[in-house]
Symmetry: C2
Subunit: 424 residues, 2 copies
């Protein structure tokens, strides 16, 4: 392991984080990007808009880390005290930055189209002891401070503003300041098997890993992502070794592997469909459009996803999809027979190669003795026939919807795989 390891701390500022109204999605993204550069996040700390709390966090984190990333507290309202505090912490004085001022004016002219307030103009003020990071997506500029070989970077908490500054300015600049090791990642995604079973299956592989290569288990909704990370001085050497190990790992998990890249299930399905020029439709009841949302979150999904029907009410299953009224009457909306018809009907109606259909009970209401909350039927219609499967989830409504979407997409993936084998 390199003895020059560079550590980072992330400080997020804002009462909204401590009263629980904001979920912090920034830190995860920042950590991923820093990891790619070979910078390790050691701690993440969230503090309120309180002078002493912020000051102490700066003191404390700079004792442990060379890179201190700060987000939040730069808004125009009175409770946003980060900028004056940083100004005092680094002993500067506040001056107007002309480029930042022009940016504020432009944004108001182009998008907000209201008269600027004094507080908006004040956003263009910055300490004269920092390097200003211009904000192309919002009104608050970022600030880069250096002190005793450490760097402190203050950015807005708005995710796309922070990401823009990181991508354009911070991430290219950090490697110029620190001597960073080479870092190589290899990631694969599994589905349908728990973390502890994977760990048991590959325990010999894991025990034999060299010290500079780590394996991380990243479970999420019935899927587990496995990430190998090699850190060292010689990039080509560690790349060769991690690639050799990654081939071995893939062969050990072949039956449960979704994809051998850092992609999610809907991306993996999209790549398969696009590669073979196949198209997809959905017919969703209980997931209410969440599956088509996941599919269409992938840029370029219009190449293979033609559309879907959210047949929440039975009249929509009948009148739009054409599910037989008798099927609904005799077997109910949550049944193998109904999802079978939903899938085959959607495939016909939307004229696609595959159609995925889901019907279930997500809760909290709607469960019965025979079909409790969490009962789900999934069907996939393909050239080679229609596959159905029953799932049982056991969470609250939101998580039931998410887990059901993953289960359904995984059945779709397996069916496409088999279908492509059958027809080729």
């Amino acid at each position: 392991m390199s003895n020059k390891r560079v550590y980072a701390s992330i400080i997020t500022i804002g009462d909204e984080l401590l009263i629980g109204q904001t979920i912090d999605t920034n830190s995860a993204w920042m950590a991923q990007e820093l990891n790619k550069l070979g910078i390790w996040v050691k701690r993440r700390v969230a503090v309120g808009d309180v002078w002493d709390e912020i000051w102490n966090a700066l003191d404390q984190e700079s004792k442990q880390s060379q890179v201190i990333l700060i987000t939040g507290g730069l808004g125009p309202t009175a409770d946003d005290i980060t900028k004056p505090l940083l100004n005092e912490y680094f002993g500067g004085k506040l001056v107007v930055d002309q480029a930042a001022l022009q940016n504020v004016k432009d944004i108001f002219e182009k998008y907000i189209k209201r008269t600027m307030l004094d507080v908006n103009l004040k956003q263009a003020e910055v300490p004269d002891v920092c390097t200003v990071i211009q904000n192309k997506r919002g009104t608050a500029p970022g600030m880069w401070f250096e002190k005793d070989g450490k760097v402190f970077i203050s950015m807005p908490g708005v995710p796309n503003e922070m990401k823009g500054m990181m991508t354009d300015f911070v991430l290219p600049r950090l490697p110029k300041m620190f001597s960073l090791p080479a870092v190589v990642h290899r990631t694969l995604l599994t589905a349908g098997i728990g973390e502890s079973y994977i760990a048991d299956r590959i325990k010999d592989f894991e025990a034999a890993l060299p010290g500079y290569i780590k394996l991380a288990y990243l479970p999420n909704f019935g899927m587990v992502r496995l990430r190998l990370t090699a850190t060292g001085e010689n990039e080509s050497e560690i790349t060769a070794e991690i690639d050799r190990l990654f081939v071995d790992l893939q062969s050990q998990l072949e039956d449960v592997m979704v994809i051998n890249e850092d992609k999610n299930l809907e991306e993996a399905i999209g790549l398969m469909l696009a590669k073979h020029g196949k198209t997809l439709a959905t017919a969703e009841s209980c997931t209410g459009g969440y599956i088509s949302h996941l599919i269409t979150s992938v840029p370029g999904s219009s190449k293979y996803f033609k559309g879907g029907v959210v047949s929440y009410d039975n009249t929509v299953k009948e009148n739009v999809l054409g599910v037989d009224a008798d099927t609904l009457d005799n077997h109910g909306a949550v049944s193998e027979e109904t999802v079978f018809e939903m899938a085959t009907a959607a495939k016909e109606l939307i004229k696609t190669d595959y159609a995925l259909a889901v019907s279930g009970i997500m809760g909290p209401g709607g469960g019965t003795e025979e079909k409790p909350v969490g009962t789900v039927w999934v069907a996939v219609a393909a050239k080679s026939g229609t596959v159905t499967k029953r799932f049982q989830t056991r969470y609250d409504r939101h998580r039931n919807i998410e887990v059901t979407a993953i289960n359904a997409l995984n059945l779709l993936r397996q069916t496409i795989l088999n279908d492509l084998k059958t027809i080729s």
Copy 2:
């Protein structure tokens, strides 16, 4: 302000948080629940699965807070060291808890249906110096430790397991241990106006607030939630005062207020529709089902939401919804004419009182000079006619989809309001 204020720190443990593969949604929920009890979260800290880091975090946070909530690091794999560490920190020894053991066995029998591994059985071991918190939703038990009048609570990082333990055990028990002030919140949601404009409009109101009542601005995707929080000894007194102020605040923001409860836009729409016995359909192109997902995230939405069509491809707009081919040819899929037809067609097809239609370009590809990425047309068909509106967003694909959904739902809300006035 009470001088007995009780503070909490939240420590989240796990390398997955520091390498950025997991977004921490737990802390926000925990903070909200603690706030309701009158416990303030002072700091949130995330550390890796590293012995010294966890130990130091326990030392550091217990200097500042009386309640230390710890999540994560309780899994069955070798990198999960939280339990042995807590055992040593509080000077106990590990013993098998029979109830926890039975629970592990039950879960394997009912849901996992595989042979248990030794590591799974070890999850039933707990330090003999803690009160065990049984886990009804997973295999790892929680632990409640007390030391020097402070309480340390360790729970799994899996959200629904943590929430179950908090709800069943932790939240009812904390008020028995600490003398907590009365806390009363009043929340309202606004749409279509920025944080700084609201602040400017209500600056006199804000300046006149008594010291024991705080106002928080919680902006999210073009909406701002305003929360008044009163803290004091006498609950009925502070309730009377906060209610008086809340009436005043509502009257000052009447034109931009969505709802005067702590609910989101889709819940507010659902309440309106349910109250008046009206029904809704959707026809989504660029949002790909995300709007119907939001609508159906609300329990009980099947009462008013009948379904929708995700008409991603133009053939689906034509063949399923019945949009005129000439309209698509002459004006394009992203046009006022097309969303107008999508909305009116969906209302007919699905037989509802209202239909919401959206078509736009979410990026990164697909933009043109005339219709750049972020161009969106929204239409709402109602009894009183069909309303259309153009929006321009300026973010990345994911955020464009989210912002477009909010814009569309807000137009739907306004249209329903006007329509109900017109027809009544």
